[in-house]
Each structure stands twice: as C-alpha cells, then as structure tokens.
C-alpha cells in the first residue's frame, strides 16, 4: 500500500497534497490518497472517501478532537489520528 496512487480523475496530483488535519473549517479539498492497511482504508472508502472525492471541513473539536467533514451529502466525524492519514489536495 505504500506505492503512490493516482487519483482517478485525469492528470496526476504529483504534489500539493496535505493531510486533512491541515484544512481549517470551511475549507474544501479533493481526496488524493489514504494511507494505511486495507481494513482501515476500506472503511473510509465505503463511507464515500474514494480518491477524487470532494470534501469540506465543517468543524473541528477542541483539544485535538475529531474533524467533521461533509462528503457526498453526508457528514462524517473522523478522529484526528485517522484524519492525518487522509491526504487531500486543497482548493
């Protein structure tokens, strides 16, 4: 799972990807890659975080708590540890 993955929507996102935790509330981005083993990655994919999907950060909880994002018309809370392994292209 360590080899780089190309997003499915044309072109290659060579650089510019940041961890989801780097986005602040209100900011959007496109999922680039999720780091981790199949089990953990599949759970996120099942919930709609397929590479190429547009997400928006809604809010983040205090004291290093989770991040709430909006994806495909639903809202998800994602713990900070997991969120730091979701790479997104901001914008």
């Amino acid at each position: 799972m360590n080899r780089p993955m190309k997003g499915p929507i044309g072109g290659s996102f060579g650089s510019g990807a940041v961890a989801l935790t780097a986005l602040s509330p209100g900011q959007s981005g496109v999922v680039f890659q999720i780091l981790g083993g199949r089990g953990k990655v599949q759970r996120l994919i099942d919930l709609g975080l397929v590479p190429g999907t547009r997400i928006t950060v809604i809010r983040s909880a205090a004291f290093g708590g989770p991040i709430e994002i909006s994806v495909r018309g639903t809202n998800l809370a994602i713990g900070r540890g997991i969120a730091s392994r979701i790479l997104v292209i901001p914008g």
Binding site: V41, R72, A77, G79
Partner: protein, 659 residues
Amino acid sequence: MDAQEEEKTIEIALAGNANVGKSVIFNALTGLNQSVGNWPGKTVERAEGTLFYKGYKIRVIDLPGIYSLSVYSMEEIVTRDYISSRNADFVINVIDASALERNLFFTFQLMEMEAPLIIALNQIDFAEKKGIKINVEKLSDLLGVPVFPTVAIRGTGIDNILNFIIDVKEKKKEFKPAKIEYGKEVEEAINLILEKLREYKLKITKYYPERWVAIKLLEQDEQITQRVSEEENGSDIVTFAEKIAKNLEEIHGEPSWMVLSSERYSKANRIATEVEHFERRPKKSKSEILEEVTGGPKLGLITLIMVMVAIFYGVFTFGAFLEDLLTTYMDMFMEYTRGVLSDILGHFGSALIVDGLIGGIASGIAVAIPYILTFYLIISFLEDSGYLPRAAFVIDSFMHKIGLHGKAFIPMIISFGCNVPAIAGTRIMETRRERLIAAMLSVMVPCSATTVVILGIVAKFIGILPALGLYLLDIILIIVLGKILYRWLPGEGTGLIMEIPPYKLPSIKNVVIKAWVNIKEFLMIALPVIGLGSVFLEFLYVTNYIEVFSMIFNPLIVGILHLPEQATVPLILGILRKEMTLILIAEAFGTTNLALVMTPVQMIVFTAVTMIYIPCIATIAALIKEFGWKISLAMTIITILLAVFVGAILTAILPLFLG
C-alpha cells in the same frame, strides 16, 4: 408446517445504512410484536417481529445498519450470510433520500448479491426540506428496482410496499431481482473470472450468486478467496483472479477493490445526479445554530455537561416519584402474600418465597422500572434526535485518554443509568479489544443504584462535597484503569469514524417502543438471576449460614477496612443489587441514622467499597452473555481487589483530613 400455511407466510428483511430510519420502519411494521436476540454464534443484535396483513403472516427481520458488505465487521458478515441464505422473500433496502449517493453504494452491493430488492426511499420530506427533489420513477427505471417513497416517522408509504409484496405473492405483479452492471473494463475483468468459475463448477456458487463470487474474487475479498481456495482446483481460480486483479490495478494505479468501490461510487453519483433536482440552496436555519451549540469546540462541551446534569436530575426526580408509587403497591402485595403463605408453608417457607423470591423480584422491578425506564426514555429520545453522535464528537479527545474513542461514551453514559444495557451497548465499538475496555470501564461507572447509596449515606450524613469527591475518585479510577488496559491488552486502538446524522425531531411512539424493548431485555437478563440469587441468600439468612460467610469475610472488612462487623452481611448481599447495602446496613444497626453508629471515615469507605466492588449479579449475567464466564470472572475479581485496595487507602488517609 403444511403447504397452505407456508404459502401464507412471507419473510422480509430490512437492510440499509445506519441513521436512515430503518428501525422506525421496523417499529412501524411490527409495533410491540418484536423480539431482540442475537444472530447465532455472533454478538450482533437480531431484531425480529411479525405482522399480519391481508391474511398473510409477515416475518420482519431488521438487519444491522451498515455501509458496505466488504466484511470488516461482524454486522457485515451477518448481513452477507443472511442475504445469501435466500431466506428472505423480499429485501427492503431503506435509503435516505437526503443522502442518495452514499446510500446507493450499499444498494449496488445488495444488487450484486442478487437480493430480491425493493427500495423504501425514506425521509423524502426531509430531503425536500433540504431542497432536494427526487424523480422516483426515473430512479426505479435506472435501477430496475421498485422504489417507494416513504416518511417512516409518520407511517407514510409503508402500506404501498406491503401491498406490492402481497400482489407479487398472489402473482398479480411480476418481480425479478435486478442485476447491476459496471463500466466496460471492470465488466470485462468480472466476466473473465466468471467464465473460469463456470468452467470449474465450484460448490461455492451454490451458496452465492456466481457473478457475486467473481466480483469478490476480483476484489480479493479475504473470506471468499479463502473459501474458494479450499475447494478442489480452487487455488487455480484464485491465482487466475489475482492475475486479472493485478492487471486492473496496473491500469488504474490503485488496488482492485478500490477500483470497484470507485466504480460503485461513480455509478451512484451518475444516478443521483440524474434523478436529483435541487430546488434551492437551503438557507441558514435553526438547525445550524443547534449544530454550533452542540458540536462547537467549546460550546459543545458546555452543552454536554448541561445535558448530563439534566439527565441525572430528570432520572432522579421522576424516578423517585415512580419508585414511591411502585413500592407502596409492592409492599401491600408482599404483606398480603406473606399472610396467605405463612398459613400454608409456615414461617420458613414463606420467608423464602416472600422475602426471597417475591421480594427480590419486586424490588428488582421497583428499581428497574422507575429509574431505568426514565433513563431509557431520555436516552432513546437523545439517540433518535441525533444528539448522541455529537456528544461522542465533542468528548472524543477525552475518551482517547482512557484508551477508547468517542463512541465509547455512549455505553458509558448508559452505565450511569444501569450497567446491564451498557454491556450490550459496547457493541458499537469496532474491535473486541475496545469492547472489552469499554465494558470494564462501564462496569466501573456508578449506576443509579450506586448513586442511591452515595446520596443516601455520604451526601446525607457528611455532605455533598465528599459525595462529589467519590464521583471524582471513580472517574480517576476509570482513567487509570483505561490507561492500563489500553497498554496491556493485545492489539492496537482504532480511531473514530462515525456518521453525524442531521438533527431530527424524534417520534414519541418510536422512543416509547425503543425504551420498552430495552426494558424487556433488561428484565429478561436481570429478573431470573435476581430472583434465584435472592432465594439463595434468603436461605443463607434464615438458616443462619450467613454467619459462616461473615466469619470468612470479617477479617477483610473489619481487619483491613476498619468497618463495623454489621457491614459484612450488607456488603455480601449487595451483589444482588447495590442499593441493598444501604437498606441492610440500616437494618443491621436498627437505625436509619447511620451517623450515630459509624464514623464519617467508615461511611465513606463503606460507600466507596459499594461503588467499586463486584458488578451486581445482573451485570455479571450480562457480561457472561456478552464475553463468556472467564472474562466476567476476571472483571469481577479486578473490581473486588480494586475496592479493597481503595478502601484500605481511604481508611489510612481519610482520618488525616476528617480528624
């Protein structure tokens, strides 16, 4: 069952994501006519009910709320096995109209399994409020599946589904499970594996649709790949599928399973875009203010604390009111039966039955119904409204400090009412390791019975501050224990991944049904063990064998904890129900004014021990049901050791503060 009767029986299953109103539809269909159990061999809840409609007996199975069939949880395994068993005449896929795309992802997986699918397009009113209008006919055409719009909370549309089912059964309508096709490249890969499967005629295709097996092999699904490789020539197919998967991987630059998930989502997106019509952008609404107040970084925590205080206040004022009412009637009933039975059975027999069996069960009910029912009503309301996930969201970082994540907050808050339902509530955790930690910590949470003791002894005779101090002590113990378990138990922690559903106004009917089903489950676990335990202990009491136990435990209770001798029996009997310690110690001393007979230190130690030691017998029964007797025994021993340890320390250091 004769043929005629069989014809008149239909089995339907409800499948869908969490938070789509599936249980509301289930409750609307079956009302109180339902039972909750476990799936065979699994600790996954199985809710089942029946309804009678137009001369048919319809069995309804409520499948767990899940997002996928990729088998990363027991809920997904159970669903997969059930669908492939072909027991269901119809599978009703409940989908949330306001989140069509995400829901269709799961629908496609049901279609891959060639389930006899009907779609209930639920919460259509809510979607409209969000400005989404859905072309139902077009959706049905594109999927090849009958679609019925419903508003489950008001019961709208459910009859249409039932009528359709009956019509199909009476052959007035044609019905064929729809199939699903993906993009050209993926289809080619699936078909290559499919041909090979047909050629080898594997047994697995008798249990599962062959195309589905092909898809799972392409996805490198662990369970199916394993099963295929166990068959004769199976490993050939596995190797072949690996080659095809590799090929697909090279084209797309991502693993084959991710290619398929992407396919499903892009198809879901295409269909959703075609059938959805956005009327207007929803404007900032009241619910957004509510979101900020309950989910905002600082505000959310303040709200959470206020909600918890309100829950306790509600439970203890309304619960106490109900308890007074109930105990009055229970006492009258006990006195009456004592009068009748002592004539027949004599003093010994009537004591066993009246004080043991009836007394035990009666006070079980008197405690269960008032506090736990009130608590369940509040929790069900908060659950249906959507508040609980917000609470889990704001408390997540704190829960990480005790080795868990935000979701564990839900069983732990339930524990404040009663530990029994909290044990089953730990199922929302993803791994067994986390379920164990959550259960151990939930058992440490003071339940309503323990709170009665804390209030009745420490708060009443010493003051509210020492009582709060005991709570604080308990929280510290939970944190320390959580940290230790997190470090010691094998495996690693998982983080929080949870949907935050939109706020909804709960249906009172649904809240009441939910509370009732939970109470029923509680009584089924608790009453038998409380009844039997009460008879046994009453026997020890009447025969004076209890003295033997006192002699065994006296060195511990008098010697180490410096408690009066009279405390021994109450602490032994407290295993039945914790508030018994308060009642019995007052009886043992012959006064309810404990301040006259115990020092403040003794009262605090006695209460602290009651709070920490041994989960009550009903909790132990729940633990055995959930985790087996070994783990229950281990947890019981841990709590006893902890109670003695803390009691001994308090005995040593409290005199320095209290003089």
